[in-house]
Every structure is written in C-alpha cells, then in structure tokens.
C-alpha cells in the first residue's frame, strides 16, 4: 500500500512539478556491491554502474564536478574517477581503511579519517602526496569543514569528541565532548553553527564553533520505534540554515529539524538503515542512501515529502551530486 502510494506520488511529482532544467548526476557508493551507481537527476533513472574498488564508502566530487573521489576502504586507498569518461584515472594515498573524508572548499586538499590509526590524513589531490597526519581521538570518523576552509572538524567514535583542527597549522585548537559514537559533522553555510550526530547516544549536538560549546542537544522520538533504533548519522542543512535533515539509520527515517527553533518538526519514512544524505545543487531535492533496502529515497525539500525511491547496488552507503 505504502509503496504504491509512494509510486503514485512519484508519478504525480514527475508529471506535474517541473524538475530542474539542468540534469545533474547522482553518484551512490554501494558498500557491499563494490560499485558506484550513476543516476540522472532529471529522469531519476539509473544510467550506469561502475566498479569502485573494495568496499566503497565515503564519496565526494571536486568543486567543478570533474573528479569523483571514492574511499575504497578495504583497498586502503582513495580511487579517483574522471566523471566524463567514468574511468579511474589514479589513486590517492589515504592511510589504512579510509571511511569518510572531506574536500577543502577550494578543491584541495582532501582530509581523510583513518579509523585504525587514530589519525586524520591530509592529502594534496594535485601532487597526490600526504601533507600531514594529525593524531586525533580513538576511531576518527566524521569530517566537516568550515565554509571559509579554516577549520576542519573530525569526530572520534570511541573518544566521543569533535576535534577542531586548524587547516594551516594542522594543530587541534579545541575539543568538544559529545555523546557516544559521533558519526558526522556538518557546518551551516554561514559557518556559525556545527551539527554533530552521535549514533549510539541518539542525539545531535548543536555546537557554537567559536565558543566550542554545545548550545543544544537534539533528541529524537518516533512512536513505535525503539529508542535504541534512533541512531543519527548523516546530516545536511539548507543554505539558509532553516531546514536540518538528519538520517536516523535503522529507524528508517529522516528527521526534519527547524534550524531556528531546533525542534524536530517531522520524520520522513525512507528506506531501511538510512545512512548518508546529499542535496541537489539547487537544494530542491535531498537524496538518502538506504543500506538495508538497496535503494535511495528522493525527498522534495520544499514539500517535505518523500517522492520516489530508486533501486541502486548492494548496501548503498554514500551519495554525492554533481554541480553541473
């Protein structure tokens, strides 16, 4: 019933509402399938699948959209693809078991969390050399960067801290203790606020990056869902800071938080074990990777509704959308 409804809604959406004139490309890393699924954002059809290396997880694009970076965790490397030819052009040194990374807003360098070694590796994507290895807490995972590129934030899952790293000196300037198993860190577009999700703690910490203090902890509750299943992971915030989306993992929902009141306004039912999120460049749509149902959900950001699900490869993990 629900899937039929969703399909109907999707069909309605496709026929009635105009989708962006410029088609973007959606790239989804499939952790178990060892592939990248490529989707056309206008037709929402899968247009191709490429091999991605062993256990692809973190995925990102260069600012001009020409290069696709994929953490191949079990190959201990970052694979780089030319988005025109969809061929792998080279690899970047990543340190062991790279999972998540973030690219400097200028397109260089790349900051990679190495879970095994308690370090963040900084890689120059042009010279393909390691610029620095920064010791952080136990099991570094989430990576966020301030819009001005001056601060990169790493979260460590067993230490339970957000480490604020100066991108010029590579020194840790401050640490903020958060709840158990912080997975993801995300700055607002104006840099005034940092959101950090704690998977096991079940909360999202709202941090004032200047003061290095938590101003609020957002909690979640869904009737009929065990509290333990509410495990926040991926976070995305609209450019105006008004809508905050948080993937709730095995709760199969994305929470929508009002960026002003910091209250949860609704829970959107998506696929199973929703993990990471990405906006379309115009931020009209949000795409979610659903690891246990092998699909992505498409959310209409303005209408705050799930409009479609698209089957991808096995255990989708990360998602990124081309700017062009």
């Amino acid at each position: 019933m629900r899937s039929r409804l969703t399909a109907l809604m999707a069909a309605t959406a496709l026929s009635v509402f105009a989708l962006p004139a410029v088609a973007n490309t959606i790239y989804v890393s499939n952790e178990k399938g060892n592939t990248i699924t490529i989707i056309d954002s206008e037709t929402l059809e899968v247009t191709g699948t490429i091999d991605a290396g062993a256990r692809p997880r973190g995925i990102t694009l260069s600012p001009d959209g020409s290069e696709l970076y994929v953490c191949a965790s079990d190959d201990d490397t970052v694979n780089v693809f030319d988005t025109k030819t969809l061929k792998r052009t080279h690899t970047l040194p990543s340190g062991p078991d790279p999972e998540l990374f973030i690219l400097h807003p200028s397109g260089n360098p790349l900051y990679i969390a190495n879970e095994d070694d308690n370090i963040v590796t900084v890689v120059d994507v042009k010279t393909r050399r390691v610029l620095a290895e920064i010791p952080v807490g136990v099991e570094p995972e989430g990576m966020g960067i301030s819009p001005d590129g001056k601060v990169v934030v790493n979260t460590s899952e067993t230490t339970n801290m957000a480490h604020f790293i100066n991108t010029e000196t590579y020194e840790i300037e401050q640490n903020v203790l958060v709840d158990q198993r912080p997975r993801y860190a995300h700055f607002t577009a104006d840099g005034s606020r940092l959101y950090v999700s704690s998977e096991i703690g079940g909360t999202v910490a709202v941090i004032d990056p200047k003061a290095g203090e938590i101003t609020k902890k957002i909690e979640f509750a869904v009737p009929g869902i065990l509290p333990e299943a509410l495990q926040p992971v991926g976070i995305k915030v609209t450019k105006d800071g008004k809508k905050v989306f948080v993937a709730l993992g095995p709760a199969n929902r994305v929470a929508l938080i009002n960026g002003e009141t910091l209250e949860v306004e609704k829970y959107l039912l998506v696929g199973q074990r929703v993990w990471q999120l990405a906006f379309s460049p115009d931020q009209k749509f949000l795409y979610t990777t659903n690891g246990n149902s092998n699909d992505i959900s498409v959310i209409d950001v303005e209408k705050e509704k799930v409009i479609k699900s698209i089957q991808v490869g096995e255990q989708p993990w990360g998602v990124v959308v081309s700017p062009n």
């Binding site: 078991d97 067993t158 230490t159």
Partner: protein
C-alpha cells in the same frame, strides 16, 4: 608468590593538553587470580598467557588517547596471584594508589575481595565471574559487574532458538558444579521463553587426558551411542563449561540436529568474527598490540577500563565514588561495538549488554531479539530482572 607484570604506563608523545583542563592521573589495577585449568578440548582454544591483560593494554591506550585532550593520564598495574595471595595483591595495589581494580577471579573470590576492601576507597570491577548469585543475592556495593551472567547468556540463546521455533531441547549436562550452574540457567531460559527441555542426560567426566593421538576414532563411536533414543527434539543443548564433551557433539549426535550452548551456536560476550558497529576497528587496534584476536575476557577487561575512562572524562574527577555514581546514573552511556549503548542496572550494578550468538567463525545473531519487548530496556529481557533479584542496591 604474586608478582607485578610489566607496568604498562603509556608514554605520551603529544603536546600537553590545553591549559584550562585539570590535570588528572588515574591508576587502575588489573588482578588475575590464578587457577589450574584443564586443557581445552581443541588446541585452538588454549588460553594465551596475556588473556585479559591484553584487553587492559588496549583499554589504557584508548583512555590515554582520549585523555590527552583533557590532560588526563591513565596507568595500569597488573598482577597475577594465587587464591591465597589475592587479598595481599589487592592491598598492594591500593597501597600503590589505584582508584579501581579490575578482577579476573571466581565468584567466591570476587565476594571475598569485595568484603576485604569494603571500607577502602576503591572501586572493583568483575570482568570474569558469570555466577548469577552475585547479581541476585550476594550483591556488593563496591563491585560493578562487567561480565554477562549465565542467565543473560542463556536468555540470549533461548530468545534466538524460540525465534527459530526450535522449541524442543535435548539438554546434555556435564558432571561438574559449573555445568549444573550453566544447565540451570538454560532450564530457566527455556521456561521463560517457551521452550521445552524434552530430555536431559548427564555426561559423566571419567577423567583421563583430554586429547590422544587417535581420540576421534572412539569419539565417533561413543557420542552417537550416548545420544541415541532421545525424545523428539529440535536442537541439542550442551551444558559443558568444564569442557569435557561439548566440542565433540556437533556432527556426532545420533539424530541430525544442530548443537547449541557450550558448542555449536554459543552465546558469548565477544567474538573475533564481529565486524559490525565499528567492531572491525576495535579488533584491529587490539590485534596490533596483542598479535592475536580478541577473546571475551579481553573484551570485558577492556570494557571495565572504558567505563572508568568514561567516568573520569565526564566527571573530570578520579574519585571512585564519583565514577561509580556517574556509571550508575542516568547520564551514563557507552558504545561497545554491539549495536546499542550500554548502561548499568542500578539494583545490582550489572552492565546491560547484548549477547553475541556465534559459531566458530561467524556471528549468527545478536540478542535481545527484536520481538522480545521490555518496558525499561530490551536488554533487560536478558538475565534476572529487577523484580526477580533480591539485590536492592542504590535505592
């Protein structure tokens, strides 16, 4: 003669923590009471010399990695003692200034040691003893239980078997007291979750050596004969903590039935096959320093150190009473690579923990099973719940 092993102080290579943080130094003892143990049935199960202590090393490493951001340093002192020297060893550690001691000891020794230091300002952690009476009748305010109890493990196994609709159990019990303790936890679990023990037999330990050159020749004849003509059953349950016969049951039973309990599908606190929820990173960190895989006792000693570390980190104090109050309080939570946060049961100081169900190589399932609900925490479907326990600590 007990002796101190290599002190495992961790050198700090990193720059000093920011000046605003209070400098704290934490000293934790890890005390193992030595016992003669019979050789296991399989040579793959021979315990390593550093069993448990290796978990302490990783726990101290993890705590120090976190501590360096706060100006907190952790040091562990370890000791192995014969049973009659355990109290002196514990006294020695307290004289050395430890705030907490992790015990690897039998239940009666845990009680004796707890009573011996009841008036001292030190917190004890039971990392090994699984006896339920420590959680239901003989609770001690100064002991936090990290090991899952036999009832917790039996309930975890029973939930899965009932979920599988394997409700008819043929229980084979060893002849040692620990086997009876395990069998009684399994009987209780069967009753609790709607399984039925259709038949129970005792496998007598007649002594002799565990392994001989061509032992398998006799085993192949003996086990089928021993298990024949049992009432109709879905699964054979082995209660063999003393490790006399359990390992020989799979593939040798008269009827073609799976084996669970002490062999086949086992409920365990930890398993080196666990890869979910960040467990891979945990295992790799351990393997790097220990050059072997994690065993349950290593995991439990590590977990005790993490509870201490979390207490110090969050309270900014090394006071054992503050650490204990924090661990038992509403704010406490800890991720332990089993998919859900863990907390403590306030009435008996037992840590709530999922039970892994595993065969030799793989994780088969993790209990509690989703279908078994509880008004407080699903983890409280495992083991004796508050109304079933005579312990009323921290009321």
């Amino acid at each position: 003669m007990w002796r101190f092993l290599i002190p495992l102080t961790i050198a700090l290579f990193w720059p000093l923590a920011p000046a605003f943080a209070a400098e704290l130094s934490v000293k934790v003892g890890v005390l193992k009471v030595e016992h003669e143990v019979e050789l296991p049935l399989s040579r793959l199960d021979i315990p390593p010399n550093d069993l448990g202590f290796a978990g302490a090393r990783l726990g101290i490493n993890d705590n120090n990695t976190t501590g360096r951001f706060l100006g907190h340093t952790y040091e562990v002192i370890t000791a192995s003692a014969q049973p009659d020297e355990a109290e002196a060893a514990l006294d020695g550690m307290i004289a050395d200034g430890v705030q907490a001691v992790v015990l690897m000891a039998h239940a009666d020794e845990v009680l004796a040691l707890a009573d011996h230091v009841a008036e001292r300002d030190v917190l004890l952690f039971n990392a090994q003893a699984e006896d339920d009476y420590l959680r239901t009748d003989e609770c001690r305010a100064n002991v936090l239980h990290i090991a899952s109890s036999r009832a917790m493990k039996a309930d975890g196994l029973a939930q899965f078997l009932v979920w599988k609709k394997w409700r008819k159990w043929f229980l084979i019990k060893g002849s040692h007291p620990v086997d009876e303790a395990w069998a009684s936890a399994l009987r209780r679990a069967a009753k609790r979750f709607g399984a039925k023990i259709v038949e129970e037999r005792v496998f007598e330990d007649t002594g002799g050596s565990r392994r001989t050159d061509t032992g398998h020749v006799q085993v192949q004849k003996q086990i089928p004969v021993f298990t024949q003509r049992a009432k109709k059953h879905d699964v054979v349950i082995a209660a063999d903590e003393a490790e006399v016969f359990g390992g020989h049951l799979p593939y040798h039973t008269w009827d073609a039935r799976p084996v669970a309990g002490s062999a086949g599908l086992r409920p365990v606190g930890w398993h080196p096959g666990n890869e979910a929820w960040g467990a891979t990173q945990y295992q790799r960190r351990f393997e790097k320093i220990a050059k072997r895989t994690v065993r349950t006792l290593d995991f439990q000693v590590w977990l005790a150190l993490r509870v201490i570390g979390e207490g110090v980190t969050r309270t900014n104090s090394t006071d054992p009473q503050k650490i204990k109050a924090y661990a038992l309080g509403d704010e406490f939570e800890l991720g332990i690579f089993k998919g859900t946060k863990v907390t403590f049961r306030r009435w008996n100081n037992q840590i709530r923990s999922p039970v892994l169900l595993a065969h030799d190589r793989m994780i088969v399932s993790v209990s509690p099973q989703r279908e078994f609900l509880h008004k407080v925490s699903q983890l409280d479907t495992l083991g004796y719940d508050e109304p079933e326990s005579n312990c009323k600590l921290n009321q």
